[in-house]
Amino acid sequence: MTPAEQPPRRSWPLYEVFVRSKRGLNHVHVGSLHAADAEMALHNARDVYTRRNEGVSIWVVRADDITASSPAEKDPFFAPAGDKVYRHPTFYVIPEEVPHL
């Protein structure tokens, strides 16, 4: 630590970046970056994540604004789907000769 060292500046907020790689596909999370505001985040995202035509559309979202499920509760949180095999088409036994099912 040098005496000349200044107190740490407030750093730019973190944005998560989502890119649609081509029409017809969903936006997919590709990473994150820091920017002073959303518009700068978009420009930076273009330069960092789409230098080779990887995208036709970009979303940036303040990381603080994302609510995520907790990994610690992984099993109980997703349990409701666990015992409902009747939600899958393979649950139903249909005679093989019946067409188009």
Binding site: E16, G31, R51, D64, I66, P71
Partner: protein, 329 residues
């Protein structure tokens, strides 16, 4: 601190009691053993987190510092074509640094902290960037040998057990391929040029060959952290395995260029089905890692200067954002 909901935090583990920790550790080990990825908010051992932060930060710093040796030649590139390529390549290195800082931040550190650690010399970067670029041929040789060695190191990292690091490496490896090919093509043009140009290439290879071999790190019997990193699935191959792979890949490429690699011990060994090669000067390696390389001080001083000279831009952008937010409210 990165406060995002998606990020891991170093203190999340503080809530678990001892019995809980054993369960968590079992879950972590099972995930790794099953070949699955660890994700940012998963529980992980402190040492795993610390190792990753150190390795990813060091990797990110290497990309950022790595812009300097080649950036040295942007204004002197011999044609607009070569200048555009070199600019794109150096811009990619900045991008790679940013992917990696973003991956490191998912472990609960802040990029600004890491930058501070770099410019205060409290974290390292790859020793290769402490060698100067003395001729334009160095641009080609860095692409061919240095990026070639980096690719050998980085391809296995695409399967690293830590998800964000592995994903960053997938992006990086795709782009590195351009880096290596542009370097080789540049050298091919030079070796088909004048005698003077061929000599420039040979002289440059003579300087970069051994430092490139050192990029794989110390020999296996002198690499204390390797075993743990391999058990954790961070590292997939030993330093010497990767070094051997690089030598075997590079020898025929050197032949295609008509260039001699500066190692009298280099020879094909039919028993091993691999090349024998000489021992790099590990004393030199240790000295350069320790700060005594030809350009260590210059690289860090430049990085510090750039960071400090950019402070007003960061502050102005923040002030503008604050003002806009105030006007909107």
């Amino acid at each position: 601190m990165a406060s995002a909901n998606l990020q891991g935090t170093a203190d999340a583990k503080g809530t678990a009691d001892l019995a809980g920790t054993a369960d968590l550790e079992q879950g972590f080990d099972a995930t790794i053993a099953g070949g699955q990825r660890i994700e940012p908010r998963d529980w992980m051992p402190d040492a795993y987190r610390r190792t990753l932060i150190r390795q990813i930060a060091q990797h990110a710093h290497s990309e950022i510092i790595g812009m300097q040796p080649e950036g040295n030649w942007i204004l002197r590139a011999p044609s607009l074509r070569r200048k555009a390529i070199l600019l794109a390549k150096v811009q990619d290195e900045a991008g790679h640094g940013l992917y990696l800082y973003a991956a490191a931040e998912t472990l609960g550190v802040d990029r600004a902290e890491l930058t501070q650690m770099l410019i205060e010399s409290r974290q390292k970067y790859s020793s290769i960037f402490n060698y100067p670029t003395l001729s334009y041929a160095d641009v080609g040789v860095i692409g061919w040998l240095v990026d070639g060695a980096a690719i050998c190191n980085q391809v296995p990292l695409c399967r690293c057990s830590y998800g964000p690091y592995a994903r960053a490496m997938v992006r990086i490896c795709k782009e590195e391929s351009f880096h290596q090919r542009q370097g080789f093509e540049l050298l091919l043009a030079m070796v088909h040029g004048t005698d003077g140009q061929r000599q420039m290439v040979q002289e440059s290879v003579g300087r970069w060959w051994w430092p490139s071999l050192m990029m794989f790190g110390p020999p296996d019997d002198d690499s204390p952290n390797s075993a743990q990193s391999m058990a954790w699935g961070i590292k997939r191959h030993s330093n010497d395995e990767l070094r051997q792979r690089f030598v075997d890949m590079t020898v025929p490429q050197a032949a295609a260029l008509g260039i001699t690699l500066p190692d009298p011990a280099l020879a094909w060994n039919p028993q091993r089905q691999a090349h024998d090669y000489g021992e790099p000067d590990w004393a030199e390696f240790k000295a350069v890692v320790g700060g005594a390389g030809p350009a260590n001080a210059q690289r860090l001083a430049h990085r510090r200067r750039a960071h400090e000279a950019g402070a007003w831009v960061r502050e102005a952008a923040q002030a503008y954002a604050d003002k806009q937010a105030g006007a909107a409210a």
